[in-house]
C-alpha cells in the first residue's frame, strides 16, 4: 500500500525542511534556555562525578584493564547520552509537533530525522569534555576517532528505529509514553556504559546480549575508537550493527504505515 520509493523521494525533496526543523529544534534547545550550552556540559559531567565517586570511593575500582575508570565511564556516557537524547526526542517527535501535523502534510519521518540534530550538538559538547579528560588522564586519542561520525550514524539509526516504534504507538495508546523514559533509565545499567563488557561474564549468551541490545556493541565500538589498545570482538559488534539496521527498518516501516492516522488520535 505504501510506495516506499515515492516516500523517500518526497523526503529528499524536503531536505530544506529537515534543515529548518533542525535549526528550530536547536534554537529552542540552546537559545531559549539561558544556559543551554551549560546544561549540555553539566549533564554528562554530573553523571561522571557520581559514578567516579561510587567506583573509586565506594567500590575502590580505579581502572579496568589498565584504562582509568574515568575514561571508561566517560566514553560510555557520551555515547549513551547521545542515544538517550536522540531516542527521547524521536519518541516525542509527534506529540511535540501537533501544531504542524494537524495543519499541513509532509513526510512525518522528517520530524524524527531533524530532531537528531540536537543530540548531535549535545554530543559535540560532551565530546570536548572527553578530549579534555583524556589529556588530563594521559590517555592518548588515536587516529581511529575519525570513525566516530559513522558510529553516531549507527546509534542514530537505532534511536530512530526504536524511537519511531514508540512515537507511532504512543499517540493512540498514551500509556506507551511512560515506557520510553524507563528504557533510557534502566538501559543505562544493562548496557556497558559505566563498565566495560570485559567486566561481566555472560558465558555463551554473550552473542545474544549483543543482538538484543545493539547498544552493547555500539558503545564498545565507541570505546575502541577512542581508546588505543582497547580490545573488542568484531564479530559480536557486527551482530549489534545488523540488529541496529533491523530495528531501524522495522521502526521506519511501522511508522510510515501509521503516520496518516496520527491526526485522528491527537
Amino acid at each position: 500500500m505504501i510506495n516506499l520509493n515515492t516516500y523517500f523521494k518526497e523526503i529528499f525533496e524536503h531536505l530544506n525542511l529537515i534543515f529548518i526543523l533542525a535549526k528550530r529544534d536547536l534554537k529552542v534547545r540552546y537559545s531559549q534556555t539561558l544556559l543551554g550550552v551549560f546544561w549540555a556540559i553539566v549533564k554528562p559531567l554530573s553523571t561522571l562525578f557520581i559514578f567516579i565517586f561510587m567506583f573509586k570511593k565506594i567500590a575502590n575500582i580505579n581502572q579496568i584493564n589498565g584504562v582509568p575508570i574515568q575514561i571508561i565511564i566517560l566514553s560510555g556516557i557520551i555515547f549513551w547520552n547521545f542515544f538517550g537524547s536522540s531516542f527521547t526526542n524521536v519518541s516525542n517527535c509527534i506529540s511535540a509537533n501537533t501544531n504542524l501535523i494537524t495543519k499541513v502534510y509532509f513526510p512525518r519521518l522528517i520530524l524524527a530525522i531533524s530532531t537528531i540534530s540536537v543530540a548531535i550538538v549535545d554530543f559535540i559538547f560532551s565530546f570536548i569534555i572527553y578530549i579534555v579528560a583524556s589529556f588530563i588522564l594521559n590517555v592518548p586519542i588515536g587516529i581511529s576517532i575519525i570513525g566516530i561520525p559513522l558510529l553516531l550514524l549507527f546509534i542514530s539509526l537505532f534511536s530512530i528505529g526504536a524511537g519511531l516504534l514508540f512515537a507511532a504507538n504512543s499517540i493512540k495508546y498514551r500509556d506507551i509514553q511512560h515506557i520510553g523514559p524507563l528504557v533510557v533509565q534502566y538501559g543505562f545499567f544493562i548496557t556497558p556504559v559505566i563498565y566495560s563488557i570485559q567486566s561481566i561474564n555472560f558465558g555463551n549468551y554473550l552473542a545474544i546480549y549483543y543482538i538484543i541490545n545493539p547498544l552493547v556493541g555500539l558503545i564498545e565500538l565507541g570505546r575502541f575508537l577512542l581508546i588505543n589498545d582497547y580490545s573488542i570482538n568484531l564479530t559480536y559488534i557486527g551482530y549489534s550493527i545488523l540488529s541496529t539496521l533491523i530495528v531501524f527498518m522495522i521502526g521506519v516501516l511501522v511508522f510510515i504505515k501509521k503516520e496518516n492516522s496520527f491526526v485522528d488520535h491527537l
Binding site: E10, E13, H14, N16, L17, F19, I20, L21, R24, K27, V28, Q32, N99, L100, I101, T102, K103, V104, Y105, F106, Y173, R174, D175, I176, N260, S261, V263, D264
Partner: protein, 403 residues
C-alpha cells in the same frame, strides 16, 4: 484530472470512555462507529474552483483534511497531482515559538521549496500580509493576534505558488479589508490555471469565485456540479425556515388565556425567475389571532431580530378596541431594505399600550440572500440595512492636476 476522489469513507471510533489507553486494546466494547464521510465521489480539473458547502458537521473540514493529506481516508482512494498548500481553520502549520519570518521559511519548506525560491516570494508575502505584520516579522507568532495569524497564513499559502490551494473559511476571520484582499487574490490565483478548493458559508463569495460546488450533508454527498445549480437547490431548501405557522385547534395553539396564534405567514414577492428571497424582494407578513377578551384595547408591537440576537427594528400598530373573536393584520416590508442574513420576527400583544399580554417569539424565521449585479467584490456586505438610495458621483470639471 488534478483531483480525483473515489468512494471515500472516513470512520471514527467514538469511545464512550475518555482515553482508555492500553486497556482499550483488551476491551473492544463501548465503541461507536461514526462516519464523518461516507461515499464521496468527485473529480475536478486543473483551474477549477471548487466550493464545499454544507452545515456544521457535514464533513467539510474532514474532507479538506483528507485532501490536504493530513489524515488518510478509512477506505476509498484519492489522487492529487501537484503541490498542495492548505489553510485550515486559523493559521497553517505555524510553529508558535518561531518568528513570522521563520514561519514563512518553514511553510515554504513544507511545500518542498528551496530557500532561494522562498526568498523570491518573501517580499510579496510580507507585503500582502500587511504593515502590522511587517512590524512584527521577528516576533514569535505566538504573540500574534488571531487576525494577524490568518493574514500571514493566507499570504503564505497564496504566494508560495501551489498547484492546489485549499482554504477553509478565511472569510470568517479577519477584517473586511483583508477578506476583500484575499478573495481577489484567490481570483487572481485561479486565473493562473491553479486549482482552488474553498470552504465557506459566504454563498456570495462561493457563487462568484467557484465554478463547481460540492454540497455535503451529514457526511454524505448531497449534490455536486455547477455552482449556480447547486446553490439554487441549497438556498431553496434552507429557506424552508418557519415561513408559515397555522393552527386549526385553539387548544393546541401557542399563546395564553388571553390570546392565541391562529395563523402567521411570510410571503416573499419573488420575481419571475427567482426561487428564493433576496435583498431586492419585498415581503408580506399576514397573521390571525384568537382573542379571548371582550372589550379590550390592544396594539401589536413587532420586532425583527438578526441572527446575532440584536433587535433591528420595532414597529407597532395603533391601539384599537377589540372584542372576542378572530383578529387579523398584515405588514409589508419593502425590498432593498434589510441586508442579507437570517432574521426572526416576534410579535408582542400589548394591552392598554402598557401591559404585555403575550410575546410570540420566533413567530417567523427567514433568510434573505445576497444579490449583486456585476459584482467585483464578494465579502460580506456590512450593516443590517441595505438601502438603495440615490447616490451619485459625477465629473463636474475637467482639469489637469499635476500632483
Amino acid at each position: 484530472m488534478i483531483v480525483k476522489v473515489e468512494n471515500i469513507t472516513k470512520k471514527y471510533l467514538v469511545k464512550n470512555k475518555e482515553n482508555a489507553g492500553l486497556l482499550s486494546i483488551i476491551s473492544k466494547k463501548e465503541r461507536n462507529e461514526f462516519y464523518a464521510l461516507n461515499g464521496i465521489n468527485f473529480s475536478i480539473n486543473q483551474g477549477d474552483r471548487l466550493a464545499i458547502i454544507g452545515n456544521n458537521g457535514a464533513g467539510k473540514s474532514t474532507l479538506l483534511k483528507i485532501l490536504s493529506r493530513i489524515t488518510s481516508p478509512t477506505s476509498g482512494s484519492i489522487s492529487i497531482k501537484g503541490k498542495v498548500a492548505s489553510l485550515l481553520e486559523v493559521g497553517t502549520g505555524f510553529h508558535p515559538d518561531l518568528s513570522g519570518r521563520e514561519n514563512i521559511y518553514l511553510n515554504g519548506a513544507i511545500l518542498g521549496m528551496k530557500k532561494h525560491e522562498i526568498d523570491s516570494n518573501f517580499d510579496q508575502i510580507v507585503d500582502f500580509a500587511g504593515s502590522q505584520i511587517q512590524n512584527f516579522l521577528d516576533t514569535p507568532v505566538k504573540r500574534y493576534s488571531s487576525g494577524m495569524y490568518v493574514r500571514l497564513g493566507f499570504a503564505i499559502a497564496a504566494h508560495l505558488n501551489p498547484d492546489i490551494l485549499i482554504v477553509d473559511e478565511v472569510l470568517a476571520v479577519g477584517d473586511i479589508d483583508f477578506q476583500k484582499k484575499s478573495l481577489s487574490k484567490m481570483q487572481e490565483v485561479s486565473k493562473q490555471e491553479r486549482t482552488i478548493i474553498f470552504v465557506s458559508h459566504n454563498l456570495t463569495a462561493v457563487s462568484n469565485l467557484c465554478n463547481k460546488t460540492l454540497y455535503l450533508e451529514k457526511g454524505k454527498m448531497r449534490d455536486f456540479g455547477e455552482t449556480g445549480h447547486i446553490l439554487n437547490n441549497y438556498l431553496a431548501e434552507h429557506q424552508k425556515n418557519i415561513l408559515i405557522q397555522s393552527y386549526e385547534n385553539i387548544d393546541e395553539a401557542p399563546g395564553n388565556d388571553f390570546i392565541r396564534l391562529k395563523y402567521a405567514k411570510l410571503e416573499p414577492k419573488l420575481l419571475a425567475d427567482q426561487e428564493y428571497l433576496d435583498i431586492r424582494n419585498s415581503f408580506l407578513l399576514n397573521f390571525e389571532f384568537w382573542n379571548m377578551q371582550a372589550d379590550v384595547n390592544l396594539n401589536l408591537s413587532l420586532h425583527i431580530y438578526a441572527a446575532t440576537g440584536e433587535c433591528i427594528l420595532n414597529v407597532s400598530t395603533e391601539s384599537i378596541r377589540l372584542n372576542t373573536g378572530i383578529i387579523s393584520g398584515e405588514i409589508e416590508f419593502p425590498g432593498n431594505f434589510l441586508n442579507d442574513g437570517n432574521y426572526s420576527i416576534s410579535l408582542m400583544i400589548v394591552k392598554d399600550q402598557s401591559i404585555v399580554l403575550y410575546n410570540f417569539e420566533n413567530l417567523i424565521t427567514f433568510e434573505i440572500a445576497d444579490y449583486r449585479e456585476n459584482a467585483k467584490w464578494y465579502g460580506k456586505w456590512p450593516g443590517y440595512v441595505r438601502p438603495n438610495f440615490p447616490f451619485k458621483l459625477s465629473q463636474t470639471t475637467n482639469l489637469k492636476l499635476n500632483a
